[in-house]
């Protein structure tokens, strides 16, 4: 059969290649496989036969037609992932096939471009966070948080982990899964029902000399910005525990960067920085550390560094501190991570420099204004508490309605409006009447008015 992506699989080449190998039939190359498990014929998977591009396109199109895309207005769904605009130039760059068809640059001399782009990503994120060392990527925010906690356990040789109870529930789940084999004790700190912020006093009481790390998110699951970060850092550091902070990177255009308040490790997701929604992935887990030998030696993942040519005449880039990694250190490695989300790092780098520091501030400001406008407008509706928490927020906020939110949500969908995230089944709130809204630069005042109007009609 003709295989478009296997050019030598034609009769003539095959015959000549097999002759050179010295066998008559290709199956002789498989004769060492026990006969009883060799399949007589391949499984009938796919659509029962080979498909041309055109046939495939039509099948896929018939499926994708069943998906509903919301762009007018853009989705108001929150939950750590939000609808953002993506500049076309970002797509153009990651569509360069020298980038996307490359492997991890084990041979640096032939992949300087890729390596420089990674180094720039690391550097730009470092300046956004005001942290010193950033790796090429983790899978997403949740696995970055899990890896940060594992790293803290290795650095401190302690097993207790203190986690804010208002972090994203799926991240909480992921952390628990990743710690399954580590005999760790995870202690969850309550949050204040008025502000939505972590209970500082309780946190102070729980952190002790066995604590490896304190993990909080800024903003937290409710979109609320923790404002006692200096006190939390102090509580952690007093007991020689590490302070791990999860951040939404765009917020840092106007919100204090974690490096300025004593974070030892910072994690987050670069999804807002020019990555598509794509129904949950790929995104990009941000992972950063302070400049500290003990910390950085425990860093998971790929790191790119600046170096020189052996003749000392030129600069170049290469993977560094590889002795931390699985291909060298095996079971003593800091992590098993190999493939990461590198191409997304190129996208994020392009996005960040297109905006620049000033553009990032402008954008963060605009998101702040729009999300506050939405919260205020919703509060004008009879019986709606918006925002539910009075702690200052960024981009996402919880609103509580006088009737179960899922009925409202359904009515919004009928009007083509993808509303907030129903929180009925989402810890830690688990409230039938509440939803988590996300408002970004993609939403005009008119879009927001439309949402408020539609909700008003649904009440």
């Amino acid at each position: 059969m003709r295989l478009p992506w296997a050019p030598a699989a034609n009769e003539k080449d095959r015959r000549e290649m097999l002759r050179r190998i010295g066998v008559d039939d290709a199956m002789e190359l498989y004769k060492d496989i026990p006969r009883e498990i060799v399949l007589e014929k391949p499984p009938g998977i796919g659509f029962g036969r080979q498909l041309s591009e055109w046939e495939l396109r039509r099948i896929v199109d018939s499926m994708l037609r069943k998906n509903k895309v919301y762009t007018d207005p853009p989705p108001f769904l929150g939950g750590s992932v939000c609808f953002h605009t993506i500049p076309a130039v970002v797509d153009a760059i990651v569509s360069r096939s020298e980038f996307y068809t490359a492997y991890t640059p084990y041979q640096p001399e032939i992949n300087q471009g890729l390596l420089q782009a990674f180094f720039e990503y690391q550097s730009l994120i470092a300046d956004l966070l005001e942290m010193d060392v950033v790796n090429v990527s983790m899978y997403d925010w949740s696995t970055a948080a899990a890896e940060a906690i594992l790293a803290a356990m290795r650095v401190t040789r302690r097993r207790k982990v203190v986690v804010a109870g208002n972090i994203h529930p799926e991240r909480m789940d992921v952390v628990k899964t990743w710690l399954l084999g580590k005999n760790a004790s995870i202690q969850i700190v309550d949050f204040c029902r008025e502000t939505g912020r972590v209970d500082l006093e309780q946190l102070g009481n729980i952190v002790d000399n066995n604590t490896a790390a304190v993990y909080v998110e800024v903003p937290n699951f409710f979109g609320v910005i923790e404002d006692s970060v200096d006190a939390i850092a102090e509580a952690a550091h007093k007991r020689k525990a590490l302070f791990i902070v999860g951040v939404e990177p765009l917020s840092l255009g106007i919100v204090r960067p974690p490096g300025s308040y004593g974070a030892d490790i910072v994690v987050g997701d670069a999804q807002p920085l020019g990555l598509g929604l794509n129904y949950g992935g790929p995104y990009l887990g941000i992972f950063a550390m302070r400049w500290d030998r003990k910390l950085v030696r425990q860093m998971p993942g790929r790191l790119i560094g600046l170096t020189k040519t052996i003749d000392g005449k030129e600069y170049g880039f290469t993977m560094i501190l590889q002795t931390r990694e699985q291909h060298i250190r095996r079971e003593k490695a800091t992590s098993n991570i190999t493939s990461n989300e590198a191409l997304m790092a190129v996208a994020a780098a392009a996005y960040i420099v297109l905006l620049g520091g000033g553009g990032l501030r402008e954008l963060a400001r605009s998101i702040w204004l729009r999300s506050h406008y939405a919260a205020k407008r919703l509060a004008e509706l009879e019986g709606v508490e918006s925002p539910l928490f009075n702690g200052e927020f960024f981009k996402e906020f919880v609103a509580r309605f006088p009737k179960p939110y899922h009925t409202i949500h359904k009515m919004l969908l009928e009007k083509g409006v993808l509303g907030g995230l129903p929180l009925a089944d989402k810890p830690p709130l688990m409230d039938y009447y509440s939803a988590l809204f996300c408002v970004t630069e993609a939403h005009s005042m008119k879009d927001i008015d439309k949402l408020v109007e539609a909700i008003g009609e649904a009440l």
């Binding site: 360069r96 420089q116 720039e120 994203h168 399954l180 129904y279 052996i310 095996r330 989300e341 406008y373």
Partner: protein, 519 residues
Amino acid sequence: MIPRARGSWRQARWNEPLVYELGSPNNSGFICPYSNEDAELERVLSTTPEEKLGRMLRDRAPEIPGLSEIEVTRHFMRLSQMSYGVDVGPVPLGSCTMKYNPKISEDIARDPRIRYLHPYQDPDTVQGLLEMLYLLERWLAELTGMDRCSLQTPAGAAGELAGALMIRKYFMDRGEDRDEMLIPDSAHGTNPASAAMAGFKVVRIPTSENGTVDMEALDAALSERTAGIMLTNPNTLGIFEDRILEIADKLHSIGALLYYDGANLNGIMGIVRPGDMGFDIIHLNIHKTFGAPHGGGGPGAGVVCARGELVDYLPRPLIAKKGNRYYWDYECEKCIGRIRMFYGNIVPLIKAFIYIAMLGGDGLREAAIQSVINTNYFIALIRGVDGYDLPYDPKRPRKHELVLSAKPLKQETGVTAEDVAKALLDRGLHAPTIYFPLIVDEALMIEFTESEPRRQIEEYAAALREIAREARHNPSAFKQLPKNTSVGRLDNVYANHPRSVTPTFRILRRRLQGEQLSL
């Protein structure tokens, strides 16, 4: 034929500055949407973020350079020209399965009906996508002889971690205290790393003279502490573990489990299935075997599959169907929970769907066969070339990959596997994986996949032959290679030295400002 100069390949060399040297924080190529409304918004809200954020206000904009759109485009375009992927030439990195990435997949992956879908959208509004994922799961389970698969794991290593945690939880639930994981010395480094992350002690199993698991050593290692074995088959030498059924029996008879590392599946897909070999849990590398690109290091996608009662332990949610409706099944009585947020790396998964849909079962099998023919054709071309040998049973056919040793060349000329790699780069050919597996000295681990045209395989063999010849004439010249790439050979000592290691521009800036920074 038009005559061309020999060795005339040159990679682009732009001396491209860092973005920090190109832009300034006041520049931007971005127009913020609806910025005309900002004044109105401030008026309506009668406040500003500066006022409300209080002590959490960032005092000034981040120190990040901004560039205009044309500058961004040119910068990254130039960087792309100093990069090398499968679309440029062969990247025969062993165990990496660098096959061609069909353009149709790239095209479809950008469809707004995938791209604009929010992970928390109601399942009824994403039925088309869920249908694709449902079919993909069925196909992958069928292809590997497993019962169910979780699409959640974002990479092969994450699949391994999930698998190791599943084994851990399985024995925890049974009240059995098994803490040892057996791993051959030829295994990928991720196997021991994953086992250790799941809390296992790693027991190393040596390789026998014929390149497969040493059965005596395996027998000696088995005990009531054995939780399982992590194997790849074919192994990293490209050799099929022909006693796999015996191995499975041995493990199962003492109640232990078998984990399959799917990195090396490419040469056997549609021919033999891990499930039929006796494996209980497996992972697949979507970005290797199923045509999704590697992206310079990711994103890839893993898929972890299980048989029998191990299905209960798979990460959740699983894709499911009731009547004509697709949905996510979160039911998790015994499962290990979530390995990441949401459902998986959807884009590479869609590309795998397309790859399998277009090839069908027959096409996958033919692709596997061609990849094995390519491997053995290359062996036939390189056999007898002085300087390289094929350790471990050289007569035996290899599958997806082969491992040459450049030890004879090194002994004769001092030219190492690394030097050979750099000499290949200098010819515009990407090097193989070097110094792996660890059981082969001066290893050159080569995997062409089904994608390489015959002519390209011949060119690669000719290049290795020529390199061996040149090594005898002028070995010292090799230490200066490569010369034709964007930059010459890089200094790893400088790169990693505590006083010069520079992972970010921030560190460089601080050093330039006179700080003594050592790591």
